[in-house]
Amino acid sequence: MFQTFLIKYGEIAIKGKNRHLFEDALVKQICHALKGVEGDFHVYKEQGRIYIDCEPGYDYDETVEALQKVFGIVGICPVMKCEDGGVQKLGDDVVEFLRQTYDRHDQSFKVFTRRPKKSFPIDSMEANAELGGRILEAFPDMRVDVHEPELQLYVEIRDEIFIYSKVIPGPGGMPVGTNGRAMLLLSGGIDSPVAGYMISKRGVCLDAVYFHAPPYTSERAKQKVIDLAKIIAAYAGPIRLHVVNFTDIQLYIYDKCPHDELTIIMRRYMMRIAEHFADETNSHALVTGESLGQVASQTMQSLAATNEVCTIPVFRPLIGFDKQEIVDIAQKIDTFETSILPFEDCCTIFVAKHPVTKPNVNIIKRSETKLAEKIDELMRTALETTEVLLIE
């Protein structure tokens, strides 16, 4: 029965003169999300609202599921649209709406009417009273409760009349594309996909970089990262995944540097490579899944030592999160099951028994001078041989 959705958005409404930019971005993202859904849709802005008209035969559940992945949407309201045929007909329509939408009719309710169309014969207060009366007449077991109603019925009287009572929550956030582009360091773990999701939720387009270390990591580990990127792309839009062959750099560091500093030095080179591709793809920040104190390489000193090589901002949206909080989000966005598949990633292969937890940047820098002979060449090769996959 619902041939229209009314889309509610939150923060966009307060963006002043830029508001239309955000609305246009949201319309674009909704169209993109509905591409894969069965049905024909017409998405449009009208009087400060976004509507989606659906041709008969569309798949309701699939549509709602797709819309729930569009950042910027706060609420999805399935709407019954009727023609304006005067007060009597409106009452009939409202009763019909309740009859079709609900199986039982014994709940408390309240009617909210809005009347932008001033030519309608009665005003919104009168309409509330009139429609309330009609409902009580049709369903004697229902009762009015203006303070804590179980059912809130919204009626908007415009050129056409919109009736709805359900607001399905959307993901919130900002439409993707309104807040620039960032480069995500994506491993196969639980944290980095969640970090990507959270930054994307703030309206950011994502690209990603993955460090592959054959033969120490398998093709299956790479496939797992591709699968994760695909899940995030459902929210964030297309992602260019940069697959960097990191083996030779890793082995060279292993040969030349103290083993307890391996992870830090390795991560510094990862950041350098990520920043290189960020520049290339016009990204203005890096995104990592680090959480303060989670492992040796994520102590404050370690983060400072890794951060030191970056010139663009590094966003760490999970910095204050506990593991369980991260897992909860991973489960919600459906990356968890994939993340826990047991393949080694390149960070876990050469972990020392007792890595430094309070690295001193100057000592680390001194260790890195031992790499002077070949590291530039190895870096160049790694950058040149990077494979870029478009994940949609």
């Binding site: 054959p214 033969p215 120490y216 093709e219 083993h259 047991p342 393949f343 292969i349």
Partner: protein, 406 residues
């Protein structure tokens, strides 16, 4: 160059097999249960396939039942036999190194109240017949022993075990998982005292998803697939005609040239083992080991070969450990050069169970178990492939051992 040395995992279909499968799918595609001519034609293909397979074992074609593969055959043989004979006793015997498709049904039956004895194996994977003799009791209704171990190639003493079992009680059933033996060895269930025997097609250059179970006509077995009553009501489900035809063709090809291919496989196996032995002594010795990585441990030999030579081991499997190099890493390094092998058995990617059950039963030290690779050949494997693999190992081992994890 490519070297596929993982033939115990699966094999390439031969062209002959492909052709009969395609014909059964596109031309003689009838349902043997149909009454019209198309059905009759399909039934003929099925019957001929059964006859071909029966001939390879010298049994009656009435004793061949097609299944979806060895997992189904093993499940059916074990659970079906246990259930049908439970009134005679509730005791089962198997070995500790069986495939999961045997061990899991056994574990299931334990939950149903059966008692299961798991025979231990010696360092080379052989069961001790005395253990079997001691385990047999009044209550024993079924013994299940694999013919050839899938991870290290050990041939179990099936004939002797059969004699023992039948001498103890002729009614005790004997099931043999012959997945790695069929097509490689002459098998005579009637002479061996075997009542149930499981076979898979895709290990002998046949298609995946098909196999058979030999069931001695006197054996009481409960059906597990219930439905339209196909295969004398013992295994319902539309007959997999293309699969059966492909399996029969694969078996026919394997057994018409058995002598020749066994000889060839033994030659390949010897070449592989000799090559590994040479590598082990020479410059593949991980130089500087103990300086940069790992513990100082120059005493141990570099390569430890698990598989035996001679007639107590299958001709197509060589299992060896490369201490100091994790098997997964070596596997992927070989893969980069187009060489495909297995780590232990096919399930070592899971961190939580890094060591295979079989290798654990051999009581190998952790270092050996975690560094074991399996090379398995087929009659299409060439000497060049073996040499190519040995060359790659010679180059890779010193490098990889250097970067061993602590």
């Amino acid at each position: 160059m490519e070297a596929y040395l993982d033939n115990s995992a699966t094999t390439r279909c031969t062209e002959g097999v492909r052709d009969v499968v395609v014909r059964a799918m596109t031309e003689d595609y009838g349902n043997p249960s149909s009454q019209h001519g198309k059905g009759v034609e399909a039934e003929r293909i099925l019957r001929e396939a059964r006859e071909t397979l029966a001939a390879t074992l010298k049994v009656s074609e009435k004793e061949i039942y097609f299944t979806s593969g060895a997992t189904e055959s093993n499940n059916w043989a074990i659970i079906g036999a246990a259930m049908a004979n439970r009134r005679a006793g509730m005791h089962l015997i198997t070995t500790a190194i069986e495939h999961a498709a045997v061990l899991e049904p056994m574990a299931y039956l334990e939950k149903q109240g059966f008692r299961v004895t798991y025979l231990p194996v010696d360092a080379k994977g052989h069961i001790n017949l005395r253990d079997l003799e001691e385990a047999l009791c009044e209550e024993t209704i079924l013994v299940s022993i694999m013919y050839v171990n899938n991870e290290i190639g050990t041939i179990e003493p099936i004939a002797e075990a059969g004699k023992l079992i039948k001498a103890h009680n002729p009614r005790t059933l004997f099931h043999v998982d012959a997945v790695q033996a069929y097509g490689k060895l002459e098998i005579r269930p009637k002479k061996l005292g075997v009542d149930l025997l499981s076979v898979s097609a895709h290990k002998i250059h046949g298609p995946k998803g098909v196999g058979f179970l030999y069931v001695n006509e006197k054996t009481k077995l409960q059906p597990m697939m219930l439905g339209g009553g196909q295969q004398k009501g013992m295994r319902s489900g539309t007959d997999n005609v293309p699969g059966a035809a492909g399996l029969a063709e694969a078996a026919r090809e394997a057994y018409t040239q058995l002598g020749q291919s066994t000889e060839q496989l033994l030659k390949l196996k010897k070449r592989m083992i000799d090559g590994l032995k040479t590598l082990s002594k020479s410059d593949a010795e991980p130089v500087k080991r103990g300086e940069t990585a790992g513990k100082p441990d120059a005493q141990k030999p570099c390569i430890v070969i698990h598989s035996e030579e001679g007639d107590k081991s299958a001709p197509h499997i060589v299992s060896a450990a490369f201490p100091g190099v994790r098997s997964e890493v070596l596997l992927h390094a070989l893969e980069e050069r187009g060489i495909y092998v297995s780590a232990g058995s096919a399930c070592t990617t899971n961190k939580k169970v890094p060591v295979s059950g079989v290798l654990k039963e051999l009581h190998l030290p952790k270092e050996l178990a975690e560094s074991t690779l399996r090379f398995s050949f087929s009659r299409f494997t060439t000497e060049e492939e073996i040499d190519y693999c040995l060359e790659a190992l010679c180059e890779l081992l010193p490098v990889l051992a250097r970067y061993a994890r602590h």
